[in-house]
C-alpha cells in the first residue's frame, strides 16, 4: 500500500443473511482526498461507510484503513484495534445522534475525556474553538433538543472533530435537514475539505459533490457502477446505469410524466 493511501477496500462484500447489501466494492482513498458516494437508496452506500469504521462487520474482502488490515468474515475485532480505528476515524450521521442528556459542550468533550483521557479544561477549550468555527459558540450550554437540525448536525461535526480524526465519514449529513438549514452544514464540511481533511461523504447533494469532491463513486444495484474524478463522473458518466441515475436525479420533473402516464389507465377505468 503506497504511503498516501488512507483507506483501501478490496472486493468488500456485505450480506445480511441471504440478502446482498453490496458486492465486491474496491475503492481507494488517498490522504486529503474527498470522495463522494452517490446513488439510489438501497444501494448499500450507508452500510458501506459503516463498514469502514466497523460499525458493521463485513462478510468478504479486505479493508486496509490507517495501517490496519481487516479481513472479512470476522464478527468482532480485538478491542484495541477497534478503538484505534474509531478514535482516528470521525463519523457524522444522517440523524445527528447527539446525546440528549448532555449539553452541547458535554457532547463534544465526552469522547476526548473518556477515551483519550484529555484534561477536562483542554477538552473544553478545544470544543469552544470548534464551536467557534461552525458559529455556535453561543450555544455551548444548550441541550440538543433546543437546537435546530442544522445546528445539531454542526455540533455533531464538532463532536467528531474533537477526537482529532485523520479521516471523516459523513453518512448523508444533510438529508434530514430543512432546505434552508443545509447550507450551514455544507459550509462546515466544505471548510474541512479545504483544510485538507480526508473525507468520504455519502450524499444526495449533487452540486456539492461536484464542487467539493475529488472523486465520485456511484453505487447502485449492490455495487459500484462508476467511479472517477467528480466532474467527469457527474457530467459525462460512461455507464448506462450511472447515466439513468443521474438523469433521474437532475431531472426529477420527468419522473412525474412517467407517473402520469402510468396513472392514466387507472383513471380511465372509472
Amino acid at each position: 500500500m503506497s504511503n498516501d493511501v488512507v483507506i483501501r477496500t478490496d472486493r468488500l462484500t456485505k450480506r445480511f443473511g441471504p440478502l446482498s447489501v453490496f458486492e465486491e466494492v474496491s475503492l481507494e482513498v488517498k490522504k486529503s482526498e474527498v470522495m463522494a458516494i452517490i446513488g439510489p437508496s438501497g444501494a448499500g452506500k450507508s452500510t458501506f461507510i459503516r463498514c469502514l469504521n466497523y460499525l458493521h462487520p463485513f462478510n468478504q474482502g479486505k479493508l486496509d484503513i490507517l495501517g490496519h488490515t481487516i479481513l472479512g468474515g470476522k464478527h468482532h475485532l480485538p478491542r484495541e484495534e477497534l478503538r484505534d480505528i474509531r478514535t482516528r476515524v470521525g463519523m457524522v450521521f444522517q440523524t445527528f445522534n447527539l446525546f440528549p442528556h448532555l449539553n452541547v459542550l458535554e457532547n463534544i468533550t465526552l469522547a476526548p475525556v473518556e477515551v483519550k483521557r484529555v484534561a477536562r479544561a483542554n477538552a473544553n477549550e478545544r470544543a469552544m474553538e470548534l464551536l467557534e468555527m461552525v458559529g455556535l459558540s453561543a450555544k455551548a450550554k444548550m441541550y440538543p433538543k433546543r437546537l435546530s437540525g442544522g445546528e445539531q448536525q454542526r455540533v455533531a461535526i464538532c463532536r467528531a472533530l474533537a477526537m482529532e480524526p485523520e479521516v471523516m465519514l459523513f453518512d448523508e449529513p444533510t438529508s434530514m435537514l430543512d432546505p434552508e438549514l443545509v447550507g450551514d452544514v455544507l459550509a462546515a464540511i466544505r471548510r474541512l475539505a479545504s483544510d485538507g481533511m480526508t473525507m468520504i461523504l455519502v450524499t444526495h447533494e449533487m452540486q456539492f459533490a461536484k464542487d467539493v469532491a475529488d472523486t465520485v463513486v456511484i453505487m447502485a444495484d449492490h455495487g459500484v457502477v462508476e467511479t472517477g474524478p467528480a466532474r467527469e463522473v457527474l457530467e459525462s458518466p460512461r455507464t448506462e446505469r450511472a447515466q439513468s441515475f443521474l438523469h433521474r436525479v437532475l431531472h426529477p420533473e420527468e419522473a412525474n410524466d412517467l407517473i402520469d402516464a402510468k396513472m392514466a389507465p387507472i383513471g380511465g377505468r372509472q
Binding site: R86, V89, E114, R159
Partner: protein, 219 residues
C-alpha cells in the same frame, strides 16, 4: 369519635415501631432488588450465552412464584438444608430476590429502548461497551426506568407485610398482635392501612419531584 381517636393514639407508638421495621425492610429489599436486578439485566443483555441463560432462567422462574412461597422456602426450607436464616435476613433475601426480577426486566426494557443511533454514535467515537453503558445508555434509560420502578416500589412496600407470617415485627405484625389483644380489628387494620398509605405517598411524592427536576433540567 373521641374513643376512636384515643384508641388510634394509644396504639400509634406500637404501630410506628412496626413501621420502622417496614421502612427498613423496604429499603434493604430495594437495594438488593435494584443491585441484583441490574446484574440480571446485564446478564440477559450479555452476548455471553451462559450469563444470558442463567439470568433468563432465574427471572422466568422466580417471577412466576408467589412471594409468600419464596419467603417460606427461604425461611423454613433452607433451614431444613442447614441454612438457618433470621426472619429479617430471610425477608430481605426473598423480597430482594423476587423484586430483582421485576427491576431487572424494567432495566432491560429501558436499556433496549434507547435508540440504536445513540450506541452507534458512542461506538463511532471509540467508547467501549462499558463507557457507552455508563455515560450514554444508562443516563437516558433512567427516565424510562423511574415511573415503572416507582410502581414496583409500591408493590414492594405492600409485600413487606407478608413477613408477619414468619414473625418479623413489622407494621402488619404489630397491628395483628394488637388486634388479637384488644379485639378491634377494624381500628387496628385501618390504622395500619393509613400508615402504609402515608408511607407510599411520601415516597411517591419524593420520587415524582425528583423525576420532574431531572426532566426540567434537560429541557
Amino acid at each position: 369519635m373521641q374513643t376512636l381517636w384515643s384508641v388510634w393514639m394509644q396504639y400509634l407508638p406500637l404501630l410506628l415501631k412496626g413501621t420502622v421495621m417496614t421502612v427498613e425492610l423496604t429499603g434493604a429489599a430495594l437495594v438488593v432488588g435494584v443491585v441484583f436486578g441490574f446484574l440480571l439485566a446485564l446478564g440477559r443483555l450479555s452476548h455471553i450465552r451462559v450469563l444470558d441463560t442463567v439470568a433468563t432462567g432465574y427471572v422466568e422462574v422466580i417471577r412466576a412464584i408467589p412471594v409468600l412461597i419464596i419467603l417460606f422456602i427461604t425461611y423454613y426450607a433452607f433451614a431444613e438444608l442447614g441454612l438457618v436464616l433470621s426472619g429479617v435476613t430471610a425477608a430481605v433475601v426473598s423480597l430482594g430476590g423476587f423484586y430483582a426480577t421485576q427491576y431487572g426486566e424494567i432495566f432491560r426494557g429501558s436499556i433496549l429502548g434507547i435508540d440504536r443511533g445513540q450506541t452507534e454514535a458512542a461506538a463511532a467515537l471509540g467508547l467501549s461497551h462499558a463507557q457507552t453503558l455508563r455515560r450514554v445508555v444508562l443516563p437516558q434509560a433512567f427516565f424510562t426506568i423511574l415511573p415503572p420502578a416507582t410502581n414496583q416500589l409500591s408493590n414492594l412496600i405492600k409485600d413487606t407485610s407478608l413477613v408477619f407470617t414468619i414473625s418479623v415485627a413489622d407494621l402488619m405484625y404489630q397491628a395483628n398482635s394488637a388486634l388479637s389483644v384488644n379485639f378491634l380489628p377494624m381500628d387496628m387494620l385501618m390504622e395500619a392501612g393509613v400508615i402504609y398509605f402515608i408511607f407510599y405517598l411520601i415516597i411517591a411524592k419524593v420520587l415524582g419531584r425528583w423525576e420532574l427536576n431531572v426532566q426540567r433540567r434537560r429541557n
